[in-house]
Subunit: 442 residues, 2 copies
Amino acid sequence: MRRGNLVLASDSPALHTDQYELGNLQGALRSGVASRLAVFELFARRLPEGRRYGVFAGLGRLLDRLENFRFTAEQLRWLNETQVADAGTRGRLEGQRFTGDVWAYQEGDLYFPNSPLLTVVAPFAEAVLLETICLSICNWDSGIASSASRMVTAARGLPITEMGTRRTHEEAAIDAARAAYIAGFSATSNMEAGYRYGIPVTGTAAHCFTMAHRDELTAFRAQVASQGPETTLLVDTYDLQQGIRNAVAAAGPELGGVRIDSGDLLSELPKARQLLDSLGARQARIVLTGGLDEYAMDELSLGAAGGFGSGERLIAHPSPGFVYKLVAIADSDDPEEPLRRVSKRSASKLSLGGRKWAYRRFDASRFITAEDLLVSDSAPESPPAGLPLQERVVGEGRILLRRSVEEARAFHQQAKCRLRPEQLSIQAGPPAILARPSEESP
Amino acid sequence: MRRGNLVLASDSPALHTDQYELGNLQGALRSGVASRLAVFELFARRLPEGRRYGVFAGLGRLLDRLENFRFTAEQLRWLNETQVADAGTRGRLEGQRFTGDVWAYQEGDLYFPNSPLLTVVAPFAEAVLLETICLSICNWDSGIASSASRMVTAARGLPITEMGTRRTHEEAAIDAARAAYIAGFSATSNMEAGYRYGIPVTGTAAHCFTMAHRDELTAFRAQVASQGPETTLLVDTYDLQQGIRNAVAAAGPELGGVRIDSGDLLSELPKARQLLDSLGARQARIVLTGGLDEYAMDELSLGAAGGFGSGERLIAHPSPGFVYKLVAIADSDDPEEPLRRVSKRSASKLSLGGRKWAYRRFDASRFITAEDLLVSDSAPESPPAGLPLQERVVGEGRILLRRSVEEARAFHQQAKCRLRPEQLSIQAGPPAILARPSEESP
């Protein structure tokens, strides 16, 4: 179902890169570091304030981009014109493609502070250029998925439609719909997301449709004539109570649903339910939209709500703040040379050096108890207890493992069941766990 | 300089549309409203909390998208498969292109509550489909430009580089760089933005570059060998003071600059300046980065800063909250029929019906005093006092007026001079003015 993406995917993402990466490469070619085997990890130092867990999303998109990550002749000409890269650097970039390995958590999995979500193992020259695109994709997609997952919890099984397109960049919107769907939203309003990724698409009606007609009842009749009585009518353009009466007048008691997009929803909801029932439209669902966040959904889902739409508050999510850090590098081109573990020591940005292997442990009820990080250059010969969280998704530059959006969605649902109810709470609290070095680490 | 955009631009944006727009269209075809002349306006009901003004950006991008806004045969097949649109609706969409007019404020202009930034005049069937793409582009681009403009004020003439790519979706990042440049940033770190839009691109060095070498001095020497002594060295990977000493040791007193990306910048800045001076590097600029917002820049620009980078806090900007509202529609297909003015009356979302013509008035010192809105179906025969703010940019579906990114940037700089210093303040306060109906309006 990725037909719409073909044009985009053939476009090289190589310039989706901060200039300093090319500067780094140029200096590294000079010093001999460019060819050294390097390990970069993508992780979050902490979760956004009060969050208990995060949701990793974006991996599928990143693999698509990685496959096309090479500099075109025209891009290289431009790097020359603008003197961003010298002749030696351009020569190195010409024909360069990624030849390394990528290990990753599954898309849809949970993460905690320090979880090594992505591990890139490649010559420094190749791995350093991927920083920006890895962070752009993972920060955006995981930020949306993490907020969406909280809304799904708060909605208590009621369906949520992603409706944020108008609130953000048109391309970001499509991938927000994808990430929200992975996190458990049931549909999106964005048609391109449906076309490109096969996500269910849904919609109701706009205020302008009502206003374009001489009166509300005429508008509702036109919508029912076009969509059938099972349609969802938008009832708050003028007066909510009158709107509901008009809706039932137009569609009859078999009216599918009404949407309310404004006002004090907590007090309007029971009144709307009562009125619909009194008019015989007992089956009509009440869909609520208009700046809803997880806290609003938490309250409203205890009442007569039939579903939610979320846009504005999903788009305005806190960033996961992922970083992409060099954690180990060889000090010579000798493939037998052990890697030197590196870490930054500047103020408040301390991080743990060395390549990490992550294992998750569970108690007898299958709830998560710990995430252990084993520091080792290569896969441990005798792995510790727990479920290994990383998969090799790229080997010597070739994509080894692709999972669909549906698989990521199913995986998230399953992963979320491994958190206790208090760890799924939307109220502010500490992270459910911290990923940390296991005792076996040297 | 839009070479990189060619592939994207040829891709139809028609599915960048919320599904309910198609539902609206289908109902409107049924009721006869689809062919009626309609006027939609894009505006903000209010500015984000405490803001004095907003900056309109995205128009150039929107015109590009509008030009290609048509449904492809493959998209129509998909609309059939997924039953989003019935046969009559698909028939209407086949070959449909925009045939209407668009009036707009200039890109880079200021806006205030109710400024009618975009006016779309077209048959309802065409105008209703543009809601989502108009809002996506204008909300994102104007949100970035509005926040960037405040940072430019706070930086007091010091250059600011846009560095937000890693914090947001990879395509949103490119257009964030464009919007920030329009608002007065001097450059971007995003190479694709340079390639696509001709924006100056700049960069320094990454922490991983330092860590990839055996020690900091070796790394700095490699960078200087590659970039020359006028390069900017990143000095806070391990110890800031030692980093500065290593920088001068590597580049000599002709060192171009240092970048500090962490720590308490207000206290580090004077110490760094003093140390650089004492080592003879009096010309070396100190570039500050790391989560800076306009308030930080306001304080730091009073000290020894030589420039800023901004990413995280620019990307996490408040949304302008633009809406795209039907304000007038004909009640028959007769071209002589006067338009019916419409407005929503639901809770807290009251808006002014009718098509608006905007004029800005100035005092003798050329500072803005008012923005008058004249409500009239057609251009007023005797316009009121003041500068007309809207231009016809699309006429009968053809782009009439395209301005470059450089023109938008120059226009913003000029428009900003029309605000008094207190109206440019970054401290919270009321909007400088409210756009409101002039007394001549009926």
